[in-house]
C-alpha cells in the first residue's frame, strides 16, 4: 500500500530506464509467449498461421485502439460489442436493400460513431459515470439490434468483390483486415503522440480539473473519443460482417472485455493518463497468440479459460513489479 503514497518515487529513473521497460514490458511478454508456443508446436510459426493470427487479432485490436483513448481519459466503454452488432446489422440491412456495400460500410461506421457520441453525451452532458452509461447503452444497443434483426442473422449480402475482400481478402499477401488494422494503428499512433488532441487525451486522464482550467474543451474531447471508440467498433463490425458474410445479432458479445484486457496488458493504466497505443497492439497480439496457440496445442476450451485467467494475472503482476 505504501506505493500509493510513494507514487512517482523513482523520479529520475522513470525517465531514462522506466520508460524503456514500460514500452518493452508487454513486448517482452509477447516474445516469451511466442517462444513457448512455437517450441510446443512448431507449426505455430508457419507463414499461414502468422497471417491467420494477424487477421484474427485485427477485430479485437481495432476495438482496443478506441478503448485505449477512452481508458486514457479515465473512462471505460462497455458498449463496443453492442455497437459492433448494431452497426453491423444496419450495414447489412443497407446492403440487402441494395445500397453499394462499400457505401453501406461507410454509413455503418458513421452510425457507430454516432452511437459512441451518444455515450459521450451521456457521460459529459448527463454526467453519468462511463461504466454505467455504457452499461446501459450496451443493453440498449443490443436490444435495438435484436429488434431490428428480429433475432435473425442478416444474410444475402451479394457477391460484391470489394466487400468480400474487406474481411477475407489479401493485399500484397497480407490479410486485408490486418492491413486495415495496421493503417489504423499508424494513424492513431500519430494522433495520440503527435497532435494536441492526443496530448489532451492524456491530460484529461492525468487531471481532469486542471485540464479544464487550462482551457482544454474537456467535454468536446471526451465526446470525440467515445465517438472514435464507436466508429472503430463499427469498423471492426464491418470486417466481421464481411468475414462471416452475414450480420449476426449476437456478434460482439463480451468483446468489450477482450478489448479492455488488451489495453491493460499493453500497460495502460485503468485510472487514466498513462499508457500507449503500441502497448495495446501488443496486448491484442498477446491475447490473439494465446487463443491461437492454445487451439494449436489442442488445449480444451475449459482449460483455455483457466490458462487465460492465469496469464492475465501473471502479465499484469510482472508489469507492476517492473514499474515498482
Amino acid at each position: 500500500m505504501k506505493a500509493a503514497i510513494n507514487e512517482g518515487t523513482p523520479a529520475a529513473k522513470s525517465n531514462i530506464f522506466g520508460s524503456v521497460t514500460q514500452k518493452l514490458g508487454p513486448l517482452l511478454g509477447l516474445i516469451i509467449l511466442f517462444i513457448i508456443v512455437s517450441i510446443l508446436n512448431p507449426s505455430f510459426l508457419e507463414p499461414l498461421n502468422i497471417l491467420n493470427l494477424l487477421r484474427q487479432v485485427s477485430i479485437n485490436a481495432l476495438i482496443a485502439f478506441g478503448m485505449t483513448f477512452v481508458i486514457l481519459t479515465g473512462g471505460i466503454d462497455l458498449s463496443v460489442g453492442a455497437i459492433l452488432a448494431l452497426s453491423s446489422a444496419l450495414t447489412a440491412g443497407m446492403i440487402v436493400s441494395g445500397l453499394d456495400p462499400m457505401i453501406a460500410i461507410l454509413v455503418g461506421c458513421i452510425l457507430g460513431g454516432v452511437m459512441g457520441i451518444i455515450n459521450g453525451l451521456l457521460i459529459t452532458k448527463g454526467k453519468m459515470a462511463p461504466f454505467i452509461a455504457t452499461l446501459a447503452t450496451m443493453t440498449l444497443f443490443r436490444g435495438l439490434t435484436m429488434v431490428y434483426t428480429d433475432g435473425n442473422p442478416i444474410t444475402g449480402l451479394g457477391e460484391n468483390r470489394l466487400f468480400q475482400l474487406f474481411g477475407r481478402g489479401y493485399f500484397l499477401g497480407i490479410p486485408v483486415p490486418a492491413v486495415t488494422m495496421i493503417i489504423t494503428f499508424v494513424v492513431l499512433f500519430i494522433v495520440l503522440q503527435k497532435t494536441p488532441f492526443g496530448r489532451n487525451t492524456y491530460a484529461i486522464g492525468g487531471n481532469e480539473k486542471a485540464s479544464l482550467i487550462s482551457g482544454i474543451k474537456v467535454p468536446k474531447v471526451k465526446v470525440m473519443i467515445y465517438g472514435l471508440s464507436g466508429l472503430l467498433a463499427a469498423l471492426a463490425g464491418a470486417i466481421l460482417t464481411s468475414r462471416l458474410n452475414s450480420a449476426q445479432p449476437t456478434a460482439g458479445t463480451s468483446y468489450e472485455l477482450d478489448a479492455i484486457a488488451a489495453v491493460v496488458l499493453g500497460g495502460t493504466s485503468l485510472s487514466g493518463g498513462k499508457g500507449r497505443i503500441f502497448g495495446t497492439l501488443i496486448g491484442a497480439l498477446i491475447i490473439g497468440t494465446l487463443n491461437n496457440g492454445l487451439n494449436l496445442l489442442g488445449v480444451s476450451s475449459f482449460y483455455q479459460m483457466v490458462v487465460k485467467g492465469i496469464v492475465i494475472i501473471i502479465a499484469v503482476l510482472l508489469d507492476r513489479k517492473k514499474s515498482a
Binding site: G8, P10, A12, N15, R199, N200, S214, I216, K217
Partner: protein, 493 residues
C-alpha cells in the same frame, strides 16, 4: 517528551532528500522548522512518525532508540502529525472525519456516536470553532478543514504535535485562536514542531528555530538570539534585501471590467475594473467568496447575472476554454488539484493552454515547443535538471512557478492569481513578485486574491475588500493599512 534525531538519511529513488539531518525537540517547547521549499522539512517529520522508513540514522525518544513503523504507532506513543496536505474525507461528515481510524465503540462493538459528539464538541469549544458536526467536510472552507485537522490532533492527548504549515489557509482570527491553544498546550508540557514559511509567526510564538537547507540542518538557535535577516540568509544561502520588490506602476487603459456579477447565495453585485499594468489586490476573510468570484469570471462556475468586459467589448465566458481564448489566465489556489497534472513533465504542463499554437499543421512541433519551455524555465528560474522531469517530483515553490509559467506562456492580457504564494518559501515568493512586476510593466492586468495581508499591502496598486460576497470597500495604495482592511473584511464600515 524529548526527541532526538541524529544523522538521518533518506532518499526517494536517486533524489537524496535528507542528507544527515540532526534535530532535537525538548519537552514543552515550540520549535520552529524552517527552510526553502523542498528542503526536506515534511520528509523529516514523515520519517519521525514512521510514514517513510529512514535509510540511515537514529531516533531517540526520551533516551531510548525508537523507530515507528507507521503513523498510527507514533500516535499511540504520543506523537501526532497535522499534515501539510489536508487529510479530509469530503463526502463524510465533520464528526466522521474527526474520528476516522479511532472511532469510539460501545461494549458490543458498535459506534458510540453520542460519546464522539460530546468529545468533538468540547474540542471545538476549546478552539472556538463552530462548524456543525453533521456538515459534509467537503463543503467546509479550506480554513474550516484545517481547523478540523487541528481539532483531530488535539483529541489524541499527544505529547508532541507536529504542525506542518497549519496557518496556510487560516484567517487572522483563526490564527490568533490557534496561537492561544498552542500556548496553553505548552503550559501542559506538550512540545510542538512548527513548520511555516511565515516569518512573523515564527518570531511570535516559537522558542527555538532550526533551519534546514538541502536536506541538512544548517543551525538551531533560541529565537531571542536570532533575527529575520539571519534566518532568511541561512535558508536561501544569500542575503535577501527586500521581501517585496519595488512597485513602479505605469497603468494604462482599463482593459478588464466586470459589472454586477451575481451568483445567488455566494456573491452579489460585484463590479470592478482593472487597468493595463495594474495589480488589483483582493482581500477578505476566508470564505468571503473571493475564489468563487474568480471561478465565475473564468467560466468555471455559472453566473446568475452580470457582465464581463474585455478591451471595451462585452464577452460571454461559458467555459474556461473561452476565457483562455480571450487572454485570461487563472492561477488557482490549489495547484495540486487544479493547477498541474502531476504525472506530466514540466514541459507538458507548461504548454497545455498553448498546445494548438505549436501544431499549425496539426502535428506538434517538438523543437518549437522545447525552445518555448526552456525559455519559460529560465525566465521563472524553475529549479530542475530537465524539462522532462515530472512536475510531481518538484518542490512546492517550483510547482507553483510551473503553474505561473503555464499562464505567462499564453501571453495573457489579464492574469488572475489566487493565493499565488501559498506554501511558497521566501526566496521563491520574492521571485514570483518580481515576475508580477515584469508582467505589469508589459501591460498585463493582474488580479491578485490573497489572504496574506502583508502581501496584499506590499504588491497591490489598489485593494478591494470582500465581505460575505460583496465588495465592502476599495483602498488605493497609499491609504491602505492592515486595520482598514480588517474592518472592511469583517463588515464594519
Amino acid at each position: 517528551m524529548h526527541i532526538e534525531m541524529r544523522n538521518i538519511y533518506k532518499a526517494f529513488g536517486t533524489n537524496q532528500v535528507l542528507a544527515g539531518v540532526d534535530f532535537d525537540l525538548a519537552s514543552g517547547e515550540v520549535h520552529a522548522l524552517m527552510g526553502e521549499n523542498g528542503a526536506g522539512k515534511s520528509t523529516m517529520m514523515n520519517v519521525l512518525t514512521g510514514l517513510h522508513p529512514k535509510d540511515q540514522g537514529s531516533i531517540f525518544i526520551d533516551g531510548t532508540e525508537t523507530s515507528f513503523s507507521n503513523p498510527k504507532e507514533a500516535e499511540q506513543n504520543g506523537i501526532t502529525f497535522i499534515h501539510q496536505e489536508l487529510n479530509i474525507w469530503p463526502d463524510m461528515t465533520v464528526l466522521e472525519n474527526l474520528f476516522i481510524g479511532k472511532e469510539i465503540k460501545t461494549s458490543i462493538g458498535l459506534l458510540n456516536t453520542n460519546k464522539m459528539k460530546a468529545l468533538a464538541k468540547s474540542q471545538f469549544d476549546r478552539l472556538a470553532v463552530s462548524i456543525p458536526l453533521d456538515k459534509e467536510a467537503g463543503s467546509c472552507s479550506v480554513g474550516e478543514q484545517q481547523m478540523i485537522e487541528i481539532a483531530k490532533a488535539l483529541m489524541t492527548d499527544a505529547k508532541v504535535i507536529i504542525m506542518d504549515e497549519p496557518t496556510a489557509a487560516l484567517t487572522e482570527r483563526e490564527i490568533a485562536k490557534l496561537f492561544e491553544v498552542i500556548s496553553s498546550l505548552k503550559k501542559e508540557g506538550v512540545s510542538i514542531v512548527y513548520i511555516s514559511h511565515r516569518m512573523e509567526e515564527i518570531f511570535a510564538i516559537c522558542d527555538r528555530i532550526t533551519v534546514m537547507r538541502d536536506g541538512k540542518t544548517v543551525d538551531t538557535k533560541p529565537i531571542p538570539e536570532t533575527n529575520f535577516d539571519e534566518v532568511v540568509k541561512k535558508m536561501v544561502g544569500r542575503e535577501l534585501t527586500d521581501r517585496y520588490p519595488k512597485r513602479n506602476p505605469q497603468t494604462g487603459e482599463t482593459i478588464f471590467e466586470v459589472k454586477g456579477l451575481t451568483k445567488s447565495g455566494v456573491f452579489r453585485d460585484v463590479s470592478f475594473s482593472v487597468r493595463a499594468g495594474e495589480i488589483v489586490g483582493i482581500s477578505g476573510l476566508m470564505g468571503a467568496g473571493r475564489t468563487e468570484i474568480m471561478r465565475a469570471i473564468f467560466g468555471l462556475d455559472s453566473l446568475d447575472s452580470g457582465e464581463i468586459w474585455l478591451n471595451g467589448s462585452k464577452v460571454t465566458i461559458k467555459a474556461p476554454s473561452k476565457a483562455v481564448e480571450s487572454g485570461i489566465g487563472f492561477i488557482t489556489e490549489n495547484r495540486k488539484e487544479e493547477g498541474l497534472i502531476l504525472d506530466f513533465s514540466i514541459k507538458e504542463n507548461m504548454v497545455l493552454p498553448t498546445l494548438a499554437s505549436f501544431a499549425p499543421k496539426g502535428i506538434i512541433n517538438e523543437k518549437n515547443q522545447s525552445d518555448f519551455v526552456d525559455m519559460l524555465i529560465k525566465r521563472l528560474t524553475v529549479k530542475t535538471e530537465s524539462a522532462e522531469t515530472a512536475v510531481g517530483n518538484l518542490s512546492g515553490g517550483n510547482q507553483q512557478k510551473v503553474v505561473i509559467a503555464k499562464w505567462v506562456g499564453i501571453g495573457p492580457k489579464v492574469l488572475i492569481l489566487d493565493e499565488p504564494t501559498r506554501g511558497v518559501d521566501v526566496g521563491a515568493k520574492r521571485e514570483i513578485y518580481e515576475l508580477m512586476n515584469e508582467l505589469t510593466s508589459r501591460g498585463v492586468a493582474i488580479i491578485m486574491v490573497s489572504s496574506e495581508l502583508p502581501e496584499v499591502l506590499g504588491m497591490s496598486d489598489r485593494i478591494l475588500v470582500i465581505h460575505e460576497g460583496k465588495i465592502t470597500g476599495e483602498l488605493p495604495m497609499g491609504q491602505a493599512t492592515q486595520e482598514k482592511i480588517m474592518t472592511l473584511a469583517t463588515g464594519g464600515q
